[in-house]
């Protein structure tokens, strides 16, 4: 199978409100940034383009059609779109490169989540007949999951607060982060509950922004003469939508994807996991079997800023950054979709 690698990544600042900028205006600077990293001038210089977005975040159909206006797609280009996080756009691009129809691909994800009330909007992801009609929001579902873990003694509220404190501290090094700072487990535990047992700090913020990435064959990376991180494993699995049939204290689909991606085949120096809620980071850490040797979420993770539809691809980008910077030799990136970690992707990246 052809060796594929990440060669460029850029993400906008995570902002609670990107103001007047529309989606195209959020995307264009990120595209320009990744073009610059590999020394190309437009989407015409890659073989395939794939994006991830969700119409309901901005509240109008065909968000991705506007996205095409950022590409300079004249003459026409080979382009596709997933109504999912752009991590899955990357997956589609990997298949395209594996089958030999492309040597390089541009991937981008974008969202302006601020125009609507995101947790309520996402309630409409649920079964439309039985669950969506009850407007069960994502935070409440995650709270029930955290409750199960607490009641079963699998975590304490202190463990959750420790995840948050760690995220805030690491995010101080991340100029794109929305939330960062020195805090302590004790200080966080003194905050009132928000949707019990979750505190506001246990929940990721809502952010506007975009991220872009370029992947290609290793041969192409050498031709471009740019540093790269090889994608040595990638897999994703979904599990039942029926929350009552899942063990919410575990992430079975993450374990399945990790096994097929070969996470355990080598040391994991760094991991970026997409955990929108603090307790989910602990679930994922356990499902990926990450120990003390792994630097988890050095970017601060999505508790520091969550670009819906881009955070998944950003996790891959953050691991890529650390590998090409020489800070890590091998890393794992995780992306998620759906309520309570229903759908999970695991990518293994290694240095050249």
């Amino acid at each position: 199978m052809r060796e594929i690698c990440v060669v460029a990544y850029s993400q906008s600042d995570c902002k609670s409100n990107a103001g007047m900028a529309n989606e195209v205006e959020l995307i264009m600077p990120q595209l320009q940034a990744v073009y610059k990293q590999v020394g190309i001038t437009s989407a015409q210089d890659v073989d395939f383009v794939c994006s991830g977005s969700c119409d309901y975040l901005q509240g109008a159909a065909f968000a991705f059609v506007a996205g095409v206006d950022a590409l300079g797609a004249v003459p026409p280009i080979k382009e596709s779109h997933v109504e999912m996080d752009a991590a899955w756009a990357l997956y589609e691009s990997v298949l395209k490169i594996r089958m030999g129809q492309a040597d390089s691909a541009l991937i981008y994800g974008f969202a302006k989540s601020s125009p609507g009330e995101l947790p309520i909007v996402l309630s409409q992801q649920l079964d439309p007949y039985y669950l969506a009609t009850q407007w069960v929001d994502t935070i409440s579902l995650a709270a029930m999951q955290a409750r199960l873990m607490l009641e079963q003694g699998l975590i304490t509220e202190g463990d959750m607060a420790a995840v948050v404190a760690d995220s805030r501290r690491k995010a101080l090094q991340n100029p794109q982060a929305q939330l960062s700072g020195e805090t302590s487990t004790e200080a966080l535990l003194n905050e009132p509950h928000y949707v019990s047992p979750l505190r506001r700090s246990d929940c990721c913020p809502v952010s506007d922004g975009a991220a872009a990435m370029i992947i290609c064959t290793v041969d192409k990376a050498k031709e471009w003469g740019v540093p790269y991180a090889r994608i040595t494993g990638i897999d994703h699995r979904i599990e039942t939508h029926n929350l009552g049939m899942r063990d919410l204290t575990d992430s079975v689909s993450t374990r399945q994807a990790a096994a097929r991606a070969g996470v355990a085949d080598g040391p994991v120096d760094v991991a970026e996991v997409y955990a929108p809620f603090s307790h989910q980071q602990i679930i994922l850490q356990r499902a990926l079997d990450l120990g003390d040797d792994t630097d988890i979420n050095p970017s601060g993770g999505v508790l520091a800023g969550n670009l819906m539809m881009a955070s998944g691809v950003s996790r891959i980008g953050e691991v890529f950054r650390r590998i090409v910077a020489g800070e890590a030799g091998r890393g794992v990136a995780h992306a998620t979709s759906g309520p309570c970690l229903q759908h999970n992707m695991v990518t293994v990246l290694e240095g050249a």
Binding site: A61, L95, G100, Q125, R237, T240
Partner: protein, 387 residues
């Protein structure tokens, strides 16, 4: 490099205005089960599921793969959701095929659907925005001026659209799954139907349907193990261009021409009219048949309408290149599935399994879909013979 892949199972639902007897999950399950039955397989034989549909606002369910995981037996498997506007049915088939052609999976289930009766499609597509007037004229309001420009350029007579409207409905009457069943339709009836968006009349426009279409795509080593012959994928391509840019040819978009050139090159086709036995082309408004005949290279520029008028695209008139033998989008239009129906019907033809709308001896067929402002294209060529 690219591994061979073939369609080994096809399943569709009946298409109708409202499928009140099934939920959205029931609808997709029905198509998926039909495809598995056709392939002689079960859900356990499937490695991955690829689903596609047009905007989520059509049903009001956000990212419906999340809710449809169980209905499609995807628990513990990879599941991907494609959305490329109206071309999505075709794009979804191509993305599903890439799961096999990349050597990553052996058997993939792909499903597309629309259940427009669950919502109001017209409303879903036209949220008011201040930089344009809110005319709510629908897709017809967008495409009618482009059709008018085609008529001006080509000098086509006024009744070309009527001829297509009749032909595709007569084709549809041969297909028991088709939404519109109009075996006695006449040119006069089309001509006298209400003018909606001049020059488009009511009977020259597609219906709005509920329905789903599914396929099983398998790798080379498994393709010939099923009860029916496979339809080998001989070429697949996608192209996109922006909705509006200065100098854009809206009548014959370059993205369509480039996409066709790409898919023909892969399939080794130099003269599509001669080498293809039939085609399933996305024609939601009658006049798009002559327009696409030219865009896709079946006729020289300005002469597509002549093929239509000569009966070249008609099964009933014994045409040499029948288009839309299933009745096409003009007979059934569950938007998100419409593209995949084209791809699947092309495959049915080369499997010799198209029932009363079979083109005798068809060996090579094309499926085509487009979307947005005729800016997103997906196409494939399938053949009875292994490449």
């Amino acid at each position: 490099m690219s591994e061979l892949a073939a369609v080994v199972g096809i399943g569709q639902t009946h298409y109708k205005t409202k499928r009140g007897d099934v939920s959205i999950a029931g609808l997709v399950r029905e198509a998926a089960q039909n495809a598995l039955d056709d392939a002689g397989l079960t859900f356990d034989d499937i490695d991955a599921v690829v689903i596609g549909k047009a905007p989520d606002m059509f049903e009001g369910v956000i990212m419906p793969e999340i809710y449809l995981t169980d209905a499609l037996g995807a628990n513990g498997k990879p599941m991907l959701r494609v959305h490329t506007a109206g071309s999505v049915g075709g794009s979804t088939a191509i993305v599903a095929a890439s799961h096999v052609q990349s050597g990553t999976f052996k058997r993939v289930l792909t499903v597309t659907f629309e259940k427009q009766s669950e919502s109001n499609a017209m409303w879903a597509l036209s949220t008011p925005q201040p930089f344009s007037v809110h005319l709510n004229a629908g897709a017809g309001g967008y495409f009618a001026p482009i059709i008018r420009e085609y008529i001006r350029r080509s000098g086509a007579p006024a009744d070309v659209g009527i001829k297509v409207a009749v032909k595709d409905r007569l084709h549809g009457a041969r297909n028991p799954l088709a939404h519109l069943q109009l075996p006695d339709i006449t040119a006069k009836e089309v001509e006298e139907s209400m003018m909606l968006w001049d020059p488009l009349r009511f009977l020259e426009a597609c219906p709005s349907s509920d329905g789903a279409c599914a396929m099983v795509i398998a790798s080379e080593d498994l393709a010939e193990k099923g009860p029916k012959p496979p339809a080998w994928i001989r070429g697949a391509a996608m192209r996109s261009e922006p909705t509006m840019f200065a100098g854009r040819d809206e009548v014959s978009p370059q993205a369509g021409r480039d996409c066709a050139a790409d898919v023909y090159a892969q399939a080794g086709i130099t003269d599509p009219r001669k080498e293809l036995d039939c085609a399933e082309i996305y024609v939601p408004f009658s006049w798009y048949e002559p327009m696409w005949l030219e865009n896709l290279g079946f006729a020289p520029e300005g002469e597509g309408w002549k093929l239509t008028m000569e009966g070249a695209t008609s099964l009933d008139e014994g045409g040499d290149i029948p288009w839309n033998c299933s009745g096409g989008v003009l007979s059934s239009n569950p938007i998100g599935a419409s593209g995949m129906i084209r791809f699947a019907e092309a495959a049915r033809q080369v499997r010799g399994d198209a029932g009363d709308h079979q083109v005798p001896g068809a060996k090579l067929a094309m499926g085509h879909a487009y979307g947005g402002g005729a800016q997103f294209f997906s196409m494939w060529v399938v053949g009875a013979e292994k490449p």
